[in-house]
């Protein structure tokens, strides 16, 4: 019986490709080093546009009850308050205004006082959509935990990859991950995009995605190392990348499609978060193909897997 009529999928990706990825490794390493150095320079000279989570201060989103707002009038009304540097911009739609007030000197209570003044000065014509006030104590703590979270994640992943593969794979992975995080942070610095706690969450997700990609390629490399004992390493790495290429591209495509939907329709509040993720997925895919795998070519890897082959891996035996 035929419950469902069979129909074949559209196998749009050419198979049996032999794209010489390894030939570009010099160029890619060069480019990546330039990007990483540039990111570091940007972060240390231009710095990051920290959000209230990390910098402290207030963020107030209000909506005008009477349609589009006159930014100049708001600026002049708030400018007289003497609260230092203030950013005032429309947010998402012309009737929404986002006001950022820098951290006030004088501790926790001063931030609340600033918030009261701003809301008082805006008057009755607005409804409050969102208020975020982070005092100096909490912003310091969040900076600390944010940094620790990224470092601990990278460390945990290295340990995992080291445990599951060889140290060369772990080293390749850590270089790729550091690269992804650094360059993403660099882009945030370059375009002065707001960097807050949600971006750290995005970085962690990028780490997860990138390591996922790297693991898939590494798995295939290990499998081929057992299969082709005499093949030249460069050739073998190329083969492994080519064999997993259709998967890399298809998974990348679905993830990017989903992220694009979130970017364009998911609302203004998470736009930076999805941007970080979009960029991260691209850079993560790039790094597993052009950094993690070629690094193995430089580092060399154990070729004799005969001992390991007789012992079935626990996960494989269960499957």
């Amino acid at each position: 019986m035929n419950l469902v009529p069979d129909f074949k999928g559209f196998d749009f990706f050419p198979h049996g490709t032999r794209l010489p990825f390894m030939r570009f490794k010099g160029l890619c390493f060069g480019l990546s080093i330039v990007f990483m150095v540039a990111s570091l320079l940007l972060v240390f000279t231009k710095g990051l546009n920290f959000g209230v989570d990390f910098k402290g201060g207030s963020l107030i989103e209000v909506q005008s009850k009477s349609g589009p707002v006159d930014l100049a009038r708001i600026r002049s009304a708030l400018g007289d308050l003497g609260l230092g540097d203030m950013q005032i911009q429309t947010f998402g739609q012309p009737s929404d205004v986002l006001i950022r007030v820098e951290q006030q000197p004088g501790g926790e209570a001063a931030q609340q006082e600033a918030l009261r003044k701003v809301i008082g000065a805006l008057g009755e014509g607005f409804t409050q959509r969102r208020v975020e006030v982070v005092g100096p104590v909490v912003s310091g703590e969040l900076r600390m935990t944010g940094t620790i979270a990224v470092l601990v994640s990278i460390l945990a992943i290295i340990v995992y990859v080291w445990f599951r593969f060889e140290w060369q794979f772990a080293l390749g992975t850590v270089v790729a991950l550091t690269h992804d995080v650094l360059v993403t942070v660099g882009v945030f610095s370059l375009f002065s995009l707001e960097f807050d706690l949600s971006i750290v969450a995005a970085l962690l997700t990028i780490l997860g995605y990138s390591v996922n990609d790297t693991v898939v390629v590494s798995d295939r490399i290990r499998e081929n190392l057992r299969k082709y004992k005499k093949m030249d390493l460069t050739e073998l790495l190329d083969l492994s990348i080519n064999e997993t290429l259709s998967r890399t591209i298809l998974t990348g495509a679905t993830t990017i499609v989903v992220l694009l939907a979130l970017y364009f329709f998911g609302g203004e509040v998470i736009r930076n978060f999805t941007f970080a993720m979009l960029f991260g997925v691209l850079i993560g895919t790039y790094s597993s193909i052009f950094i993690a795998a070629p690094l193995l070519g430089y580092l060399g890897v154990k070729r004799d897997w005969s001992g390991a082959e007789t012992k079935p891996r626990p996960a494989a035996s269960r499957a």
Binding site: V200, L204, T205, V211, F273
Partner: protein, 538 residues
């Protein structure tokens, strides 16, 4: 790999049905769900403050104030202890991190040490038994003794104080008439207050902003505050500023006659003569007795009503107040009288609470976020499903079914365990769907590869599933590591993201590996035994 026993098939189908049943209430309005028959689950996933709107305040207690209060208590206890034992001392006071006692006679040193050691309380610890004492008493030299709180003592004090503060905060918020506040301790000295549906936090902050320690004091019969400042403050008295008149000061007895703790009720009211807002209050029995005795003895003299160390008013006692009720005037507005009545009814806070973090989302933004999140979710999921079907044909349909089931299961589990859905959580959910495809892609690409290498349909499918399994486990575990760390790092919304991601990892392994495999196995069974080779539609 492709053989399923009957009970396994039943278990998988039951899990899927349970998922659908538990997830279902979420797509209907709350009112509709309420009318359902009793056997259907009605629980809906709880929305984070960023989606339903509400206020999030992180409050911090003042550790320095707590320590100072405690040292003063130790000082008063030490004074009483030494007096009761008739040990003479020339000096007694708070010095640095301790209380220092100067004795009159060196030969009484040991006796005094023994007496003061009676003040030491052991600290109980439920897990480890008794783990130490709250204070230490040491003899510095023949006539000097030192009482110092221990680190554990301070911790226990702080922990007790935060427990008391949470109770008071809860009573105050309840008195405001807001529903379902979530009030929890965070760390040693912080309190997290979440009030769903509250978008204007001004009143909340006012109500939580004061300690509201109310005391009634005897006023010094002759000397005014001003005179005392110029000459000297008599023993046992203290200068208090006026809350009404700037710069005006009163000289009051430091130990109060009655405390706010003795109040049983406080309500905003209006003065019948002046029509000004006032607060009328009632004492409990012991408060009424103390206040009655005091007013009886002091007719014609003033007494002071002090709130947070400032004198609200100092009326003259016209007649003994024996009924245990009275009223406070002090230039209130209707709003401040109302707030103060709430504060007095709810009791005083152990210390002042400072707002160290505030995040408030108005209901309109919350509704917009739900709408935007759902729209993006529907578009993203639909696009993913189309891509999957286009790429893998009939097998793609199987994958699409398990993807939908994956989404349903994540929602069902979140509903059941009471996890909170936030806006980043919706992003996590959509992303889980996008990334769950990866498992299917890995399996199907592998099957294609094996078919190209000339394997038969059954062999290719079998190898595809078993080989891809290792890779799937590896990649999901590493994502799990990142999600766990995010959970540890995050506050509200980000935790929501970590939670959906974590649940999604488990469900996606189940749906992509088990459910897809079952569908493929059933398909194989229906195609087998027709005497010709099976062609895999992939």
């Amino acid at each position: 790999m492709l053989h399923f026993e009957r009970w396994k098939i039943i278990a998988i189908v039951l899990a899927a049905i349970a998922g659908v049943v538990f997830a279902m209430p979420n797509i209907f309005a709350k009112e509709t769900v309420a009318g359902w028959p009793a056997f259907l689950p009605k629980k809906q996933v709880s929305l984070g403050l960023d989606l339903r709107g509400g206020a999030h305040l992180l409050l911090q207690m003042d550790s320095a104030e707590l320590r100072k209060d405690w040292l003063e208590t130790i000082r008063d206890d030490a004074r009483k202890q030494l007096r009761d034992a008739k040990i003479g001392f020339t000096g007694l006071g708070v010095a640095g991190n301790g209380v220092q006692v100067k004795l009159l006679k060196p030969e009484e040193g040991d006796k005094a040490l023994a007496e003061l050691k009676k003040l030491i309380q052991p600290i109980g610890n439920a897990i480890l038994g008794t783990s130490g004492n709250d204070i230490e008493v040491t003899k510095v030299d023949d006539t000097t003794l030192l009482l110092q709180p221990t680190e554990q003592g301070i911790q226990q004090r702080t922990s007790n104080a935060s427990g008391a503060a949470i109770e008071t905060v809860r009573r105050r918020i309840d008195a405001m008439g807001t529903t379902e506040p979530n009030i929890v301790r965070q760390g040693l000295d912080r309190i997290l207050v979440q009030v769903p549906g509250l978008s204007d936090t001004a009143q909340l902050k006012k109500i939580l902003g004061d300690t509201a320690k109310l005391t009634f004091h005897d006023v010094h019969p002759q000397t005014s505050g001003e005179e005392a400042r110029q000459t000297r403050v008599p023993f046992g008295y203290k200068i208090y500023p006026s809350a009404e008149r700037d710069g005006f000061e009163y000289l009051l007895k430091e130990t109060p006659v009655v405390h706010g703790d003795d109040l049983v009720d406080a309500q905003p009211a209006f003065d019948q003569r002046t029509n000004e807002p006032i607060i009328s209050f009632r004492f409990n029995q012991s408060g009424a007795r103390k206040f009655g005795a005091f007013t009886k003895d002091n007719v014609g003299r003033p007494f002071a009503i002090v709130l947070d160390d400032k004198v609200l008013s100092a009326p003259v006692i016209r007649e003994p107040i024996l009924g245990g009720s009275g009223q406070i005037s002090g230039r209130f507005t209707v709003e401040t009288a109302n707030n103060l009545a709430i504060q007095l009814r709810s009791g005083a806070l152990p210390t002042k609470l400072t707002i160290v973090e505030e995040r408030t989302v108005g209901p309109s933004l919350g509704a917009d976020s739900i709408e935007a999140g759902s729209l993006a979710g529907i578009i993203g999921t639909t696009a993913t499903l189309i891509l999957t079907v286009v790429a893998y044909g009939t097998f793609g349909v199987f994958a699409a079914i398990s993807l939908i089931l994956n989404g349903v299961l994540v929602v069902a589990i979140m509903t059941m365990i009471g996890a909170t859905l936030t806006l980043p959580g919706i992003a996590g959910l959509v992303l889980t769907v996008g990334m769950a495809v990866d498992a299917n892609v890995l399996i199907y690409e592998r099957i294609r590869e094996e078919l190209r290498n000339g394997k038969t349909a059954i062999a290719a499918i079998d190898t595809g599933f078993s080989r891809a399994m290792v890779t799937i486990a590896d990649s999901q575990l590493t994502t799990l590591v990142a999600a766990m760390i995010m959970f540890w790092l995050g506050s509200g919304p980000i935790r929501g993201f970590a939670v959906t991601l974590t649940i999604g990892i488990f469900t996606s392994v189940f749906t992509a590996v088990t459910v897809t495999r079952l569908l493929v196995a059933l398909w194989l069974k229906s195609r087998a035994g027709r005497g010709r080779a099976i062609e895999v539609p992939i």
